[in-house]
Amino acid sequence: MQSWAKDAVLEVQEYVRLLARVGRAVVTPPFYYRDTVQQFDAIGIGSLTVVLLAGLFTGMVLALNSGITLDQFGARSMVGRLISASMVKELGPVLSGLMVSGRVGSGIAAELGSMLVTDQIAALRALGTDPIRKLVVPRVAAGVLMMPLLSILATGIGMVGGWVVSLLQFHVASTIYWTSVVQGLYIQDIWMGVIKPIFIGFTIVTIGCHVGLRTTGGTQGVGTATKLSVVASSVAVIAVDFMVTKVLIVLMY
């Protein structure tokens, strides 16, 4: 138990140290612009398909379930309102976050872990490159900036999915659905839908980097790091979602 607690404290300490080094590297040169653009592509464009599919089916199933329930109260025209509120504030950010943590967080941990165990990270340092600046900062920048965009797209396509089901399954007219979607949204909801993914993206990427850069034990260690990264970042996505939601509710509502 004592050893477990010590290990946990050490992990937190190293994670905080990584964040401090990232913070310093973000505001002082050198900057690796080409690597940052590559990460925008890898994290943003690379995750697009999985995030869009997740968003689409979530919107569809949400419409299906809520439509049946609302129908019992003669309120099937309210489906759009329910979908927009759920997708924008909660499901868009969280589900895209979970998708990205599975795809990107694991990829980062595996890539950095492999580089570490094959001495490529040491080679970078020997060649005069700070791995934090070269490998971590571009990924953090891409995670923080692309995650809100992915979330917005997932939310948008979720609403479209909800519209398709509302139209075909519940025969709700398109104008009624979209009017209901807009009526269900408040500006605070939109802010929440944009701000939350920033924190979620930051969490996924920094956990992936932290776990990857602390890989030990050769190729088996890379496998363990990958698994750990997915588990830790998935749980962290939900925990961060709760904490940021709580703070935003206090600040905005």
Binding site: D119, A123, L127, D130, K134
Partner: protein
């Protein structure tokens, strides 16, 4: 730091990982243009010395000087300046998987030194020519053999013309013929480019070849047995349980095998 002056100095260096002591009171001096060859069993702390020299690890006690700079307490940013004059060849090459051979070799020139593309490309072709792999410039590391990867790693380490090169088991796992080509690259860099070298190996044949041969250039590069003065510039250090067990030139190492059981068993 003139010829023969100290360029790497370890002064009473101690290092332990958790409870295990890796290095105990290790002191030595590498002089400019000379070679230090570290021998010892696996886990004796040989590779650790290279990582300490680069500042990748920090000692628990003792002082380390590289190019006259005391590095053991330096920050990572300050160490980057020291590393500008150091090159390291890692055990398995440690080439960057996602970059071509040319990009690997030119990494430091284009990414860190910001050389214009044309100048960097010229230098990359020059060093690849030096190791005889120019035609591999566009290949990926995964397409190279083990020996070619080591030679590309040497090219990458030497591209920015460092004055000190560190070799971590550069011939381990290679066949004797390929090992010989790697040994010859090490000798060429030392004798033709004036690079000071630290070589960590447990391949005795390669260690003695590097210590006892010299490169000459009369049009083509030739390798011949080094005269006594030249051979004395290569010193062996044998580590045992983290301590320096022996220090001396190749002849002294052979002579010590007559009286020292550990060295005798190692050399046999």
């Amino acid at each position: 730091m003139g010829p023969g002056g100290p360029i790497v100095v370890f002064d009473g260096v101690w290092l332990a990982f958790d409870e295990k002591e890796i290095l105990r009171d290790v002191s030595f001096t590498l002089r400019t243009g000379h070679t230090k060859i570290f021998l010892g069993a696996s886990g004796a702390g040989k590779s650790t010395i290279l990582r300490l020299t680069l500042g990748l690890l920090k000692p628990d006690a003792g002082r380390i000087f590289v190019n006259g700079e005391q590095i053991e307490a330096m920050s990572e940013d300050d160490l980057m300046q020291v590393r500008a004059d150091l090159g390291m060849v890692f055990q398995e090459g440690a080439l960057f998987d996602s970059l071509t051979v040319g990009e690997n070799v030119g990494y430091k020139l284009s990414e860190e030194l910001q050389w214009p593309a044309e100048r960097a490309d010229g230098r990359v072709r020059e060093v690849l020519g030096f190791i005889g792999l120019t035609e591999f410039i566009d290949r990926m590391p995964s397409e190279l053999s083990g020996g070619q990867r080591r030679r590309v790693a040497i090219a990458r380490a030497m591209a920015a013309k460092p004055r000190i090169l560190l070799y971590d088991e550069p011939t381990t796992g290679l066949d004797p013929i390929t090992s010989l080509t790697v040994d010859e690259e090490i000798i060429k860099l030392r004798d033709l480019e004036g690079v000071s070298s630290v070589l960590v190996t447990h391949q005795l044949r390669d260690a003695f070849f590097v210590a006892e041969h010299a490169a000459k250039k009369n049009g083509d590069v030739t390798f011949e047995r080094a005269d006594r003065g030249k051979a004395d510039e290569a010193e062996f250090i044998m580590l045992k349980d983290g301590r320096i067990h022996f220090e001396g030139n190749a002849s002294e190492l052979r002579a010590a095998a007559g009286t020292d059981g550990y060295i005798a068993s190692f050399l046999s």
